[in-house]
Symmetry: C2
Subunit: 357 residues, 2 copies
């Protein structure tokens, strides 16, 4: 039987792989990890192929203009394994993930699309439970699922349920959230404990128990962002540190803004459960995925007021300052350690734990 995925393919030997990708002629799990390998695919394959100015901005969502209206537009596919976990399911992730990407542009999500890729043989009851979770998450986030599509693939060519959601929302007047707006002196704030989602998935997938029950932080951040923008529309950039964790989010901002970033390692809120799990597994919490947290770069003069507004919101009750943007070491993220030293926080290569979202 021929390999039909290759049938009629153009002559691939005539294709010259861009240099940075030559170590990986085939896709590896890390290409989906939100780190350096993912960035290589985007920079050397997708961006040149697609062209276009909007994609080149590489934000969590695209800011586009249509009929005089400024919109945020974003997409995410969800392949998390297992489909259900403490604190949520692939359905909750699929709604909140895209709602949050839009929120990082300052937009309140208005409409979502939903594309299912179902594997032949998955129970209809499982599909129904996931759909119900999506509906509940959408109502909680105040967004409407407006359009959808369902494809089915043969058993052995999927993993139960994959979901893509895309979303659109209005960007309020005066809001312009981009890493390019970051300047030295900006204050770096995280909205709460980090690493919770990734450690939750790891614990259920690997059957590990860390003595304490842990639940994913999966949640919609549109309300928190609105509360922050009510203080001032002049926030500089927001990111939700999902794949690649806080480290990847800070590195992307440093690289795109051309400023340095310094964080106080002891100031980063890592709950004991996450710290213990990471110690056992040899992971760094800075690289573990979150699904209901954000990191903000805020002009220094507004930092106190924004922090107060965040702490007054349920999703930001544990918000805290973790660092600042600096002129030194442009494009680089450095942590001051508890011992008084410093260490460089690199962009992760791939993902410590694949398929966490």
């Amino acid at each position: 039987m021929p390999d039909v995925t290759q049938l009629r393919a153009p002559d691939l030997t005539a294709w010259t792989c861009p240099a940075p990708l030559r170590d990986h002629p085939r896709v590896v799990m890390g290409h989906g990890g939100g780190g350096a390998l993912s960035a290589e695919l985007v920079q050397h394959i997708f961006a040149p192929a697609f062209g276009g100015e909007v994609l080149a901005q590489l934000g969590d969502s695209a800011a586009v203009s249509l009929g005089g209206t400024r919109l945020a537009f974003s997409t995410d596919s969800f392949v998390v394994r297992p489909l259900f976990f403490p604190g949520g399911s692939i359905g909750d992730l699929a709604v909140n993930g895209t709602v949050n990407d839009l929120a990082m542009s300052g937009a309140r999500a208005a409409y979502l699309s939903c594309g299912f890729i179902l594997e032949e043989g998955v129970e209809v009851a499982v599909v129904a439970r996931v759909a119900e979770a999506m509906g509940a998450a959408a109502r909680a986030a105040g967004v409407e699922v407006a359009t959808g599509d369902t494809k089915v693939v043969d058993a052995g060519h999927g993993d139960g349920i994959y979901i893509n959601t895309s979303g659109i929302g209005l960007i309020p007047a005066g809001v312009d959230l981009r890493p390019q707006r970051v300047v030295p002196g900006d204050v770096v704030i995280v909205s709460g404990d980090i690493g919770v989602h990734g450690v939750t998935i790891m614990s259920v997938r690997e059957g590990l128990e860390f003595g304490v029950e842990i639940e994913s932080d999966c949640a919609a951040l549109g309300g928190l962002v609105e509360a922050m923008l009510a203080v001032t529309p002049d926030l500089h950039v927001l990111r939700d540190p999902t794949r690649g964790g806080l480290a990847a989010a800070l590195n992307e901002i440093a690289a795109a803004s051309g400023t340095g970033v310094v964080i106080q390692e002891r100031g980063v809120p890592v709950p004991p459960t996450v710290a213990n799990a990471c110690a056992i597994l040899g992971l760094d919490p800075l690289y573990v995925a979150n699904e209901g947290k954000l990191v903000a770069f805020v002009p220094r003069e507004h930092a106190d007021a924004v922090l107060d507004a965040m702490r007054a919101h349920p999703r930001g009750a544990a918000a805290t300052v973790i660092g600042e943007a600096v002129e030194a070491h442009p494009g680089m993220v450095v942590a001051r350690t508890g011992l008084g030293g410093t260490r460089v926080i690199d962009l992760p290569i791939g993902e410590q734990l694949p398929r966490i979202c």
Copy 2:
């Protein structure tokens, strides 16, 4: 090893399957076929779970309003096998499929999102070729890929490349394309030969040769729709007859409009290659998928002018009238056969050939 897709799932035994779905407690290929099984999933699982008024319209794309701007918003996932075929690739389908869904609302596609689900081990060169095809198709259709996402799943849980595209575009003033606007007397026009994409996929997948080379009709229809709307914005409904073919498209319109539809079977343009392949394989061309054709319900007074405009456009050169909307047999599609009889054209149950898009 536990079945992690089920791990932590809510108690599924407590879930009551809606009656129409009880024959299929597990997902079968036909649930993705765009026919009756797909419709059951949407009506009994997704629509109740998601709620919302826009989804309930069940168009190829959703018409939504955002900041006073009327937008079309649509999503489609693409799981075609093989990835490359005569006349196109999964990349061409992924762009043109969503561009066409938007066009069926009368909207010119402005921005697309692109979500890849890559299988570990697929050649980066294959991904690059698909991305290049997407870029070329996007430029041809005048649409910009504005945002994207890449996930990687373990080998054995995908099939090389799956793609979701979503899209947004402006709906021109005065355009309101919905099956509910169809009235008896409307003229039914197809834009050209039917069944070409489905037969192409079948021929390469099954290694069949029908004596004549056949190429997919995969193409963007935005320009053709603009030419039609230039005659009059008062077209009633447009559909691109993809999965389930012309039969499914006509049935959806008949059901949603509450009118009957009569077509002249001999008037439906079926090219000899498609007719021969269907004869050999025992298929009905009315049920075979298209990827670059549309069916229009046009007020009788505008039908001649719209037909002329279609024939003057490269994508509608072979446009022809195939039937009309009638008061008789509301919700039902009937074909007058060459022998003077009639036969009912049912909504297909599933899909004759899975994974054609």
